[in-house]
Symmetry: C2
Subunit: 180 residues, 2 copies
């Protein structure tokens, strides 16, 4: 951030009075521009025991498989974001169940939320950001070709809970030393 | 948002190719500036059955009581945010337990997370943004003087679960027609 979105003057990094962290502060109008983590919200949607995955048509991780998920928008709820992303990326209609996982990815300033869900029908298809979409049983999951570690962690926890017969809520923090 | 934080030119609201919502797009460098919800993270911290509340020294809702909570910072996890806010607002050290509540406040583009926690000692004090801090039993909670509805909902669920002998995870969506 170099310029003030409010007045267009340059910003400088300094610690405002009463604050403890450097912020982007406008040199003219003194507006403080805070930068905060973004929420990425998605769904683990099942149909007769199989899970819906999308193969990414965009970077990063083009060609890899992922759960339908994306940046939460202003004005919506987390559940709505999960529904919308599943519709956008997989053209799929789901019933959203409980929140299943919260995964912190602090080194890229993101928090990932995954809801459990149930596909309402099998009329899914690749959305604009997907190359293809498909249902996978546990032993068909392309573990080596998953796009993001948060997706891997979420699916590992999902199948472990399913084998145990009880879905619990999971929280996890990823560290930067293992790549995506 | 009127100016591009990247190059300082004016931005215009338009729907970028492949998108479905109007975004602030720079008229010179074409950078798309997304606006996303912010996470507010806090703690329901107890000491021998009583809960730690802070009386706000800042607007909005100056003078009202709240759970220690605030905007999550880039580079931290949600648990760290709960620890940090409890330290900043109540000078209190807590052990953070499970995530207790996720409350969507879509009309102000916020998602509130509250963790259960346990005070490690009673050496708490008003932080810079608090007028005072105190411990409250269930029948001492100043229900009519709470600062935010998310705090009210969280505390109602907390005491209901405690009476039932089982803390569960709660999710709720607030609507704009009831004020704070």
């Amino acid at each position: 951030m170099k310029y003030c979105a409010h007045c267009g003057a340059t910003v400088e990094l300094r610690i405002p009075p009463g604050d403890s962290l450097p912020r982007h502060v406008c040199t003219r109008c003194a507006t403080i521009h805070y930068l905060n983590p973004k929420l990425v919200v998605g769904a683990v949607a099942h149909w007769q025991g199989r899970i819906l995955l999308c193969r990414r048509a965009i970077e990063p991780r083009l060609g890899r498989w992922t759960l339908p998920a994306g940046f939460m928008e202003n004005g919506e709820s987390t559940t709505h974001a999960a529904l919308r992303e599943t519709l956008e990326e997989a053209c799929a209609r789901v019933e959203i169940d409980d929140l299943f996982a919260l995964i912190n990815v602090p080194y890229i300033n993101q928090v990932h939320l995954f809801y459990r869900g149930r596909l309402l029908d099998t009329d899914f298809a690749a959305g604009a950001e997907s190359l293809e979409t498909a249902l996978f049983s546990e032993d068909e999951i392309p573990w080596q070709d998953l796009a993001f570690r948060s997706v891997t962690r979420c699916l590992e926890a999902y199948f472990a809970d399913r084998r145990a017969g009880l879905f619990r809520f999971h929280e996890d923090d990823l560290s930067p030393d293992e790549g995506y």
